[in-house]
Amino acid sequence: MTEGETVTDRPAAPLVRGRSLWGAAGRRLKRNRAAMGALLVLGLIALAGVIGPWLNGHPYDRVYPEYVRRPPSLTAAPQVAEIRPAADKIAARMRARIEVLEVAAGVVRVTLAAERPIDERLLAYWPRSDLFGAAVVTDRTDEGRQLVLAVPVKIQRFLLGTDQNGRDLLARMLLGVKISFAVGLLASAVALLIGVTYGATAGYLGGRTDEIMMRIVDVMYALPFIFFVIMLVVFFGRNFALMFIAVGAIEWLDMARIVRGQTLSIRRQEYIAAAEALGVGTIDILRRHVIPNTLGTVAVYLTLLIPKVILLESFLSFLGLGVQEPMTSLGVLIAEGARGIQGTTYLLAWPALVLVAMLSAANFIGDGLRDALDPKDR
């Protein structure tokens, strides 16, 4: 107790806040306008992936048969000109014809007429259409041969248009963004885990073990890696979750090499010798001293790995080996868009734009982070 008092009674040494590596890097990164802009873009895209589906309102797998290949537009569907033909079609199915049709304030007033009394059960055809809600009979005349209906118009917006099956492109793109992010982050996490452990172990143990471990990496480099991915996709039966584990299990090679190189230089530092002299075990030295000191380089490499993985997933999906219907990804959307380039350019343009924006943004952030952590190149 007395000891404690003497310690606190001492005049406190003036608190000097040291400039940590990460603090300094953070400040340098904030000054990098390209990287901060890229961070903003990537953040917005990620945010759109999370809350966008909820704001957009269209489920990604909902098919609107009456709105196939609708070009992007800010105006609401249906247009007035589209209502009459759609109503005519429904009337024909009800064995009736339209005598009067007026559109007012989102409600269509239709007067149907037929030779025989109209079966009112057939009114179910109206809400089945993508354009109308449930029809209400306001007046019956001529013993049911003439019906006056009030049909609400379903107002919908397809901001980026619909695809060749009549699904909302924006909803599909938002799902694609979400999947791309999920694949990018999870596969990179797998690569990070394997690569850092493997590289740090090889570099720290050194000698024969290091030689054998890095020789294995060299051999794996020589394998055409796309072959590996295809084989894994075949094995896992195109299972989404396992696919990105497979991708991560392949992308760890670079990470292992980088971490090994770093570890080799860290191993010669005095603090490692001190830890060894104090009798700290190998695993603890790796965990507490070696790996934390490799993190700067690893962070840079990781931000560059994420877009690489996203690209790989899109590439596989483009070839039809990735995500399967009704799920989608930006690669699938680009492949579909590229197939129908005549006329429906927007089906290619929008997903391509978003993918390129995501990838470039991630790369700008990675470059910025590298400059921030290692400013000697500037």
Binding site: A34, A222, F227, P307, I334
Partner: protein, 306 residues
């Protein structure tokens, strides 16, 4: 020099062996076989087919047979493209892929190297920012986006170039594929060249040249020689991949090269075709890494003496 080359080749043989072994067993372990059709074949027919292609033997025996055939340079018959051997398929497709790849390589060296040097000479100028910015975007735009976009703009809207097809190798048909092949590599090479040039331009021997009053031309010539080293080590494997064809480019432009055989072979369980492609790519990668090593030794005396 000869012993250097021989030593490198000596280490290459075990690598090829391991690559062949892993690929061989991986594809054999994959479910399904080359003769699995929608409607299963009769048991007797299947048995006969398997006997003809020696698929009824134990796996290790098949591996031995494949290795001994490979040692004689025989890649075997294709299972999917009946009536063709894998070597015949390659003989037809490889010249096309190599021709496109060489044009792309030339474009990469001239455009990528040139842009990189210009950016390095005017470091932190607007030209530099333009090159690095474009290169960053160029690295990230996937070929499967560039290819259809160029098709739309140059093929459909402007109608300057044919959309796809090989057309016996007419130059108009090659422009788009070569451009698409080269663009991402141009971006990478421009970045690498810029970084290497900036580092070299700060070196003492370049400063000496400048102090002696030599013109930009002489300075660039000397600096480019030293800056070529890191670019070269990238170009080795990159060239191997350029020459062995690209799946995307060949699919999108409908070209009869060898790039597409890989996916087709794997999906159809065409064992020999997949193995042939793996061997082909491995041989190209090893060969070009060797070329790079030799070029390194020529350019950098320190490597020669070590």
């Amino acid at each position: 020099m000869l012993s250097f080359v021989l030593r490198r080749l000596g280490t290459a043989i075990p690598t090829v062996f391991v690559v062949v072994a892993i690929s061989f067993f991986l594809i054999r372990l994959a479910p399904g076989g080359p003769f699995d059709l929608e409607r299963p074949l009769e048991a007797k027919v299947m048995e006969n087919l398997k006997r003809i292609y020696q698929l009824d033997r134990p796996l290790y025996e098949q591996f031995g047979l494949y290795l001994s055939a490979l040692a004689r340079g025989d890649l075997g018959p294709s299972f999917y493209f009946r009536d063709f051997t894998v070597a015949e398929l390659f003989a037809a497709g490889l010249p096309i892929s190599i021709r496109l790849g060489l044009w792309a390589l030339a474009l990469v060296i001239v455009a990528g190297g040139g842009l990189g040097i210009v950016a390095a000479l005017r470091q932190n100028s607007s030209a530099d920012y333009l090159v690095t910015g474009l290169a960053t975007i160029g690295v990230t735009i996937p070929t499967f986006v560039i290819a259809p976009v160029l098709q739309i703009v140059l093929g459909l809207w402007l109608a300057w170039l044919p959309l796809s097809g090989w057309n016996g190798g007419a130059w108009r048909n090659s422009v788009l594929p070569v451009t698409v092949l080269a663009l991402p590599q141009i971006a990478v090479v421009a970045r690498l060249t810029r970084a290497a040039m900036i580092e070299t331009l700060r070196a003492n021997h370049i400063r000496t040249l400048r102090a002696q009053g030599l013109g930009t031309r002489a300075v660039v010539e000397h600096a480019a020689r030293a800056a070529a080293l890191p670019v070269l080590s990238y170009l080795g494997p990159a060239t191997a991949h350029l020459l062995t064809g690209s799946i995307i480019v060949e699919t999108v432009f409908g070209l009869p090269g060898v790039g597409r055989y890989f996916i087709e072979g794997a999906l159809n369980r065409d064992y020999t075709l997949v193995m042939g492609t793996v061997v082909l790519i491995a041989v190209f990668v090893i060969a070009f890494n060797l070329v790079v090593d030799v070029a390194y030794a020529v350019l950098d005396p320190r490597v020669r003496e070590a």
